[in-house]
Each structure stands twice: as structure tokens, then as C-alpha cells.
Symmetry: C2
Subunit: 341 residues, 2 copies
């Protein structure tokens, strides 16, 4: 018997390797305004690993591996639900996974989505980064290529975004950008935005649309919700846990306000239509809405959606919840509107 | 010498008639990501009157009058800045104010905006409710009619919304709805939405567009940000101050989940395009984004904007701040897009 995803997530939250927690738990009621399926995740204690602080490269790798096991455990259930195939290959010498749904929707026959996984530039290597891409391919009935970009400690900045742009350049040799969308959550959302900044700066054609779920747009601890939502968000909990460490590890001495690290500071004037999604408890609420303002001020068509009651990226964490389905419905409608077919 | 609006607001915050405060002040830094002009308002202690609990009709009237004096004190400065005229008259036996800018923009010659002021259905009688309408007329170069609807304790529900619909019915006898927009903040945003619900139910043509700033869409303490943002928002601070009392006083025994009290529960299927605006510290963040979902699920064109770092309706509280100007720019662009001319 397969356990539902939310139960597995709860098990992870209760992980016995949990670090001491320094954030006082707030006595917040579970909102009645979210789905029953989401309520246990919102009621849960903060993710046990939020305050991990690996020091050495070996500690980072061991920690990343521990969390990857969890993701690898839930992937088969998700893949089975959507009956997608996953093929591994290389594009421009970068490891990628092509996810193909059993049936591709008529309008999506020639469309393609490029995906970047989340995880603070450190988590979710290999197949551990595929759950969002699989859900998108399944819900959206569209082919998705997910990039298994290189990560620190072995490969700090700019390896990840170099891999992203290399795959993009290779793809657009054969695939018209008018039929190509880019998406991802958290770091994957940030990378989707940075890809467009780099493509723009390098004179490449831009993708037809970008969907960034709760994107990491400012790697410094800047933006109001890093402070107001500390301890309210039970997924990330605080910048001062593993997250801030990951920013430093990835940046490897580079200025964190460089737009290729923090795209909220970038020049977005050539951007395609961009969808941004966050939630009321999200530590990245400000990361998301500040990017929305950056795009609005450049007069880029941009839509903002805020989920009720959820913490960071929690819409991905229960396959059983309507919020999960809603997220992918929003992305599907958005890409359907802006991608040629 | 006239004091700038934000200084007057700060003086109000330090009001010596302040009630005892039961909410622990959170130690939140002032965000660097808001304008310098807004920072003093964000840094300020919670509004002194948030925890007022008038009991008798006389106490309510005295409290309302005290706060109205503040609004009346700042109105001349705002009126002077925008060089608008304010005329008082009656429409359908309801007191209204017509605000006319010195110059009406070419596209706005035949357009009209209908405004409802905020204040929890109890505050801002008469000219005390005009600051937002004056700013809109001035920034937008458009004629605005603001409704001085009746309020409790003398006139509880449905007096306010009866007045709103009576004025609307009278107006649309001579003014085409295609050239008519409706807007307001907080209770005024809620009333703008309820007006559309009532117009729809009564078979009247709907206005061409609605802009609701941080609308009070749920008069019960339902919605996550009533809890997560308690004490983070320094304007409303908590539902359990005067706000919840005002809900009871206004509803006067009616079910608070009636859509004409809490429009988030309404049937919005005939709604025109609707703009919703909130902010990251707003106690009404959930009120706003839940309404956004209600509209999205009915497939109504709707835009959501979230201000960084602001508390409830704080965009109205500093005429000197770019956020103030930005709010009215957003409304102007929105109405310009959807109103015929």
C-alpha cells in the first residue's frame, strides 16, 4: 500500500534527525479556509530540517542525500498517478529528464516546457528534483524537460545558471521559443527568471512565457516577509536556517545582489508574460510580490496569485489537495494563453 | 504651516486617549524595501485606538467624532494639493459629495467613478470620508461621487448598502454603466463588491469595473491573515479590537456570512473586471486574496496587486509616499482600460 504524499511529508516533518529549533512556535489556528487535505500540513510542526547547518562539503552532501531519499520515495507514486514516462539524457552536456505524459493535449503537441527544480541551489539532485515537472506534465498534458543542473558544494555559482542557459540555447536550435515556456518553484522560479535575464543580455530570443512559483528573487535577507513571516511559514521557517547558508554556499563569494543571483534587481524590460504565485504564510511573499512590482514597473504583462494559508511551496506537498491541482491548472491556463501551438 | 500627512498620522498614533494594548509588539525591523516616506508609518506603534471598545450609542458617536476630527484636519491639505472642488448634494435622498478636478483628462470627460469610504461601517461620516475620493479625482483627473452612506449606531445594516444601491440606481438613469467605475478601500472596497452583488441580484446593469482596496470581504473572523497578521499590521492590529465590535454593531443580529455583509461568499458570476489590492502586512491579506479566488473561480477578469511592507490601507496614509501615488496610478490605468469613454 502506498502512503499518500501528505503523510510522507508529515513523516519527514517528524524526522528524528531534527535539529534543535530556536524559533518559538506560534500558536496559530489551522485555517478553515484551506482544503481539508492541506490542513494537516499547515497544522504540522516546522519542517524538522529547517535549522540544519551543514559545515563541510561532506556534511552538505550527506544532508542533501538524506532529503533526496524522501523525494525519491514519493516520486514513483506521483509518476504512477499521472502515467508519465521519464527519460534521462544529455543536452549540451547537461543532465536532463524528459517527462512525457501518456496523452499530450491537442494544443500542446508542439509545445514544450522547460523546468528547473527548487531546493535552494543545493537540494534535489537527479530524479529527486522531478516531482513538480511530473505533476505539470500530467496535469497539463504537455511535454516537460527538467534540468538536473550542477550544484554546490562541488559546483557553485554560476554552474547552475550556466547549465540552464546551455540547455536553453541547445533547445531553441530546434524548438521555436514561441512554443516554449519556462517554469519552476522557489529556486526553480528564481532560475526561470534569471534564465530570461541572461537570455536577454546575451541577445537570445526569450521564451514565450514564464511561470515562477514563490521564486527566490533576493538571496540577501531583504524583503519584509523574511522578518514578518519568520516562524509563520512552517516549511522554510527562517532565512537563518539552512537557507541563508545555501545562499552563501552557492554564491561562493559573489555579490548576492547580482541579478543573476537575485533577479529582483534585474533589468526585465524584454521579459515575456510572467505568472507569479505565492501564499499568505510564505516566507517568500515579499520575494514574489517585489518581483511582481519589478515587472509591473517595466510594463511587462504579469499575473499574481496568492494561495490562502499555505507556507512556502506547500502547494506541491499534497497531491491529494485541491490547491495542488489548482496550481497546475493556473500554470496550464497561463501557458495555454501565451504559447503558440 | 501645514504638517505633512504622515506626521499628522503619527500624531494620531500617539493619541493620548489610547486604550491599553493587549497585543505584544513584535520586534520587526522597518523594511528597506518600502519608500523612505512610508518607513516612519511602518515603524510606528500600533494605532492608539485599535483596541477601543465603545459600548453605548453615545460612546460610539463620541469615538467616531474624535477620529473624524483628525480626518477633517487633513482634508483641506489634500484638497489644496489637487485643486479639486467638493460639492455636497442629495441623490435619491442620500448625502453625496461630488469631487471635480480642475482639469478632467480628455478620456475621462464622460466617465464617472462612484466611491465608498472605509471605516468599518462606523467611521468617517460626512467629509471625514473623502480623502481617498479626493486623491483619486486629483491623481486620475476624473470626476468622483463619494457616498456619505448612513451608519450605526443609528442606522445599522442594511442602511449603508441600501444607500449605496439607491445612489447607484439614480446615477445610472442618466449615466451609462459602461462609463462608470466603482471603488473604495477597506469597508469601501467591501461595499463596492456588495453593490455589484446587489445590482446583479436585482437585475440592474453592473458598473464597467470595480477596484477594491484591501476589501472587508469577511466580517467573521475567518481567513488566515486575521490570525497570522495579528500584531504585524499596525493599523487594524487585530479583529478583536474595535473592528469585530463594529461588525456586530453594523450587522445588528444579521448573519455575518450573508454575502451582503461578507461578499466573499457571494455569487459573482456577473461581475465586471475587478482589481484587488492588498499588502504584505495587511490584516486583510486573506480577505483580499480569498475574494480574488472567488472571482477567479467564476472566471471573472481580476488583477491582484500586493504592496510590500504596508499594513491595512496604509497606502492612503502618506500623501508624500510613492506608494500612495502608485495606488492611484494602478486604479487610473485599470479604469482607463475597462471604462468606455
Amino acid at each position: 500500500m502506498k502512503l499518500p504524499q501528505y503523510l510522507l511529508t508529515l513523516l519527514l516533518m517528524l524526522n528524528v534527525t531534527a535539529q534543535a529549533q530556536e524559533i518559538t512556535k506560534l500558536n496559530l489556528p489551522v485555517p478553515s479556509t484551506v482544503s481539508k487535505e492541506m490542513q494537516p500540513l499547515i497544522a504540522a510542526e516546522p519542517f524538522s530540517y529547517w535549522n540544519s547547518h551543514p559545515k563541510t562539503p561532506e556534511q552538505w552532501k550527506s544532508w542533501v542525500n538524506e532529503l533526496a531519499q524522501f523525494e525519491l520515495q514519493i516520486l514513483p507514486g506521483i509518476q504512477q498517478k499521472f502515467a508519465v514516462t521519464i527519460e534521462q539524457s544529455q543536452l549540451a552536456n547537461v543532465n536532463v529528464f524528459t517527462i512525457t505524459p501518456k496523452e499530450i493535449a491537442p494544443n500542446n503537441q508542439e509545445r514544450l516546457l522547460l523546468h528547473f527544480h527548487g531546493g535552494g541551489y543545493v537540494l534535489n539532485p537527479g530524479k529527486a528534483g522531478l516531482s513538480e515537472a511530473v505533476m505539470m506534465a500530467g496535469y497539463g498534458q504537455i511535454k516537460v524537460i527538467s534540468v538536473d543542473y550542477r550544484m554546490p558544494p562541488d559546483f557553485p555559482y554560476p554552474a547552475a545558471i550556466d547549465d540552464a542557459i546551455a540547455v536553453y540555447q541547445e533547445l531553441i536550435k530546434t524548438h521555436p521559443t514561441q512554443k516554449l515556456g519556462v517554469f519552476g518553484t522557489s529556486t526553480g522560479g528564481g532560475m526561470s527568471l534569471i534564465l530570461a535575464l541572461r537570455a536577454s543580455a546575451e541577445g537570445l530570443p526569450l521564451p514565450a512565457a514564464i511561470a515562477a512559483g514563490t521564486p527566490w528573487t533576493d538571496l540577501t535577507k531583504t524583503g519584509d516577509s523574511y522578518f514578518t513571516h519568520e516562524g509563520i511559514d512552517n516549511v522554510l521557517v527562517s532565512y537563518d536556517g539552512w537557507l541563508g547558508d545555501a545562499a552563501q554556499l552557492y554564491a561562493n563569494g559573489h555579490d548576492l545582489t547580482d541579478p543573476y543571483l537575485s533577479p529582483v534587481y534585474g533589468n526585465v524590460k524584454h521579459f515575456p508574460p510572467t505568472l507569479l504565485i505565492t501564499a499568505t504564510r510564505d516566507l517568500f511573499l515579499s520575494n514574489t510580490i517585489r518581483m511582481h512590482w519589478t515587472l509591473k514597473q517595466a510594463e511587462i504583462p504579469t499575473d499574481l496569485i496568492v494561495f490562502e494559508g499555505l507556507s512556502h511551496a506547500q502547494y506541491l506537498m499534497s497531491l491529494e489537495a485541491p490547491e495542488n491541482q489548482q496550481y497546475f491548472k493556473e500554470l496550464s491556463q497561463f501557458f495555454d494563453k501565451y504559447l503558440e501551438y
